[in-house]
């Protein structure tokens, strides 16, 4: 089994975390170290808390009324729930990609330039450099370089999702959260996204929620299995998929429940 500590530096450290939607507890005593510049997959049946967990990592749950969190979430040794934390800065550092691609109804260029602009980048050439490098990183450049001024809504679903990835990269995050980024895409677009994830992990820490077990196997280095709000098992994906330690993990990945 891969020793996660020795394998790479810890980027996200979660300690004794409990999370509540009003009176309902959604996450129970989560302890997890997510390694830097690796892909970590979060798997588990619907309602197991994996998406809730993902959203605690850039405080996206803050926008839901009545939520409450206990415990610690440290990114680069800083507690992101510290009252001094600047949430805007946090979300700049921890980008997010959603299940359904959600480009702004603007041009391809403006979609990617949006983030850098609100963070104060005004220089046209500089913006162009950012747009180009992000589109190259998200493997979309060759397909759109001649129509950057066209509306992003005219792109295909797979292209839109890669545009959203480019947009997330434009504000130069360290961590990219992905909530089922390929579940609405056809196999070919899915493959592109998966190849892309594999490229991106050279520069970013990627945490991906997926319902598709095969996808978790294909793209991730480490896998965390959640069940009923608890982290049941965390380990190298190879180990989880060939010899899981917990019976619940085994039952889930072999398709007996979930």
């Amino acid at each position: 089994m891969v020793d996660i500590q020795a394998d790479s530096k810890v980027k996200v450290h979660v300690e004794n975390m409990n999370f509540y939607y009003g009176p309902v507890q959604a996450l129970f005593d989560i302890n997890l170290d997510i390694p830097e510049k690796k892909v970590t997959a979060l798997i588990g049946p619907s309602g197991c808390g994996k998406s809730t967990f993902l959203r605690t990592l850039n405080r996206m749950n803050d926008i839901i009324d009545g939520t409450r969190i206990e415990g610690k979430v440290m990114i680069d040794d800083k507690d992101i729930y510290d009252p001094m934390t600047d949430v805007v800065e946090l979300r700049k550092k921890v980008g997010m990609i959603f299940q359904k691609s959600n480009p702004f109804p603007k041009s391809i260029f403006d979609n990617i330039a949006y983030g850098p602009r609100i963070h104060g980048v005004k220089d046209k050439n500089k913006l162009m450099d950012i747009v180009e490098s992000c589109l190259i990183k998200s493997a979309l450049w060759d397909e759109v370089k001649d129509r950057l001024e066209k509306n992003a809504m005219g792109l295909s679903g797979g292209q839109q999702q890669r545009l959203c990835i480019a947009r997330a990269l434009a504000i130069n995050p360290d961590v990219v959260l992905m909530d089922e980024p390929a579940s609405a895409l056809d196999p070919k677009s899915t493959l592109k996204i998966e190849d892309l994830i594999n490229e991106l992990k050279k520069d970013y820490t990627i945490i991906i929620v997926t319902h598709n077990m095969q996808q978790a196997g294909r793209v991730s280095d480490h896998t965390a299995f959640f069940y009923e709000g608890r982290l049941i098992e965390f380990g190298a994906t190879e180990q989880i998929f060939t010899k899981p330690n917990q019976k619940q993990t085994e039952d889930y990945i072999t398709g007996r429940f979930g």
Partner: protein, 229 residues
Amino acid sequence: MLHYWQREIENLKKLILSLGAIVEEQIQRSMLALERRDSELADEVISKDREVDSLEILIEEECLKILALYQPVAKELRFVVAVLKMNNDLERMGDLASNIAKRARYLSRKERIEIIEEFGIVADKVQAMVKKSLDALVNTDVNLAREVLAADDEVDRLTKQMLKRTISFIEKDPERTKDYFSIRSISKNLERIADSATNIAEDVVYLCSGEIIRHQSEDFNPEDATEGR
């Protein structure tokens, strides 16, 4: 550009070929140790077998990983399955080479025995089969694989001939019966190496065509079959 799992498959191919290269060398050096009565060389072959064993385990783990994580299909599935089987065969060939080295070490301490020179032809044939079976894998060459299958009959024939020769030597020189048993053992080990090379060639045919040709060699080449009888 290769997709990420295709890189894993390329890597697996490199691993199985490096195992093949080590085993090929082990066989060659074990026969050299026998011919030159070189017990040091024999010891080297014997201790290097550990390297073969650990590489075999690594390859098996890689295959399991690829099957579990990427669920390969079609040609890629056949490749992983073929590698899994070849891996066993190559490890077995490594053991057989190590057995030959042990016999060579024993015989190097005894007075020179004439019959050793007669191993030349069969040893060459077996090594050629091993080489061809690996080349067939590298180039996914069905025709080359089929040549290996055909050569196995010849090795069987030569092994039988060698047995007869060994018996006649024992009859002439019963004092050295124990030494001739070592000769017989070497001969048998060579024949088994050829059998393993044949298995690899069969796996290459499966890999290329999806056709499983084991246990049907007589249907597949009737000429060879009648000749052997």
